[in-house]
Symmetry: C2
Subunit: 117 residues, 2 copies
DNA sequence: AGCTGATATCAGTCAAGATTGATGTGATGG
DNA sequence: CCATCACATCAATCTTGACTGATATCAGCT
């Protein structure tokens, strides 16, 4: 049998909310163009044509990166007629940020615990 | 006289506190081995040999990534005899995290402001 | 001084991923 | 119904960066 009949509409990120996600987000934000896309989308939802214009990158390239962001659940895609509107998912960014914060906190707490050789 | 007698000992990260830093941190955390190193160092300072043992990676590889982390100011190096102790700089992680948070916040605020085509 | 262990650097190799042109698909307008 | 626009996918190329073996450096030990 199969329970894989999920996410059949646009695309499903499989809802990873754990700590592993923070690393995924970091990996996505490592690329300059993807950073730019995220920044642009933080000003509000926009369709592909906007993002292509604003970034100056070719359309297939933008589509490619939007797909990566979509599959990670960092953005959602909403088809409207001929256009496809992309929208940031702040919760994902927030989760990643909080994970980094907890790591920083832990590092500060263990700052004086040097391991012996 | 000169006040540039800073960072002359081990290495100086140039103290980037802006949003550029967040992207740099993201880029660094994109690599699996570097994530591991950061995680290990969050448990407290350790020398290269520890990190080599714990990660299972070759020594030059670890040194290479430690250098990247060092140059970005994410870690500091403190030579002690034959060993070199590395220490996480929580402030950098924290700064990056806060930038992501502000981005998430902005995205949430502009969530209903879709751009027209 | 000579030796050994701990690290850093270098040059070469190789693989992952980014970019691009071509092409397919669905929606809109005449 | 045909032409066009917005977008996604594909196959190929190309660039970036990670890994490795060899080697240099420096500290401690005998």
């Amino acid at each position: 049998m199969s329970t894989d009949v999920l996410e059949t509409d646009t695309d499903g990120p499989a809802d990873m909310a754990g700590p592993a996600n923070a690393w995924t987000v970091a990996g996505l934000l490592a690329d300059p163009l993807r950073r730019r896309l995220v920044e642009l989308l933080s000003d509000g939802p926009a369709c592909t044509c906007h993002l292509v214009t604003d970034t100056g990158a070719k359309q297939p390239t933008v589509s490619h990166h939007l797909r990566a962001l979509r599959e990670a659940g960092l953005v959602t895609a909403e088809p409207r007629g001929r256009f496809t509107y992309y929208r940031l998912v702040p919760e994902q960014l927030r989760a990643a940020a909080e994970h980094l914060l907890s790591l920083a906190e832990r590092a500060r707490a263990n700052d004086d615990r040097s391991r012996e050789c």
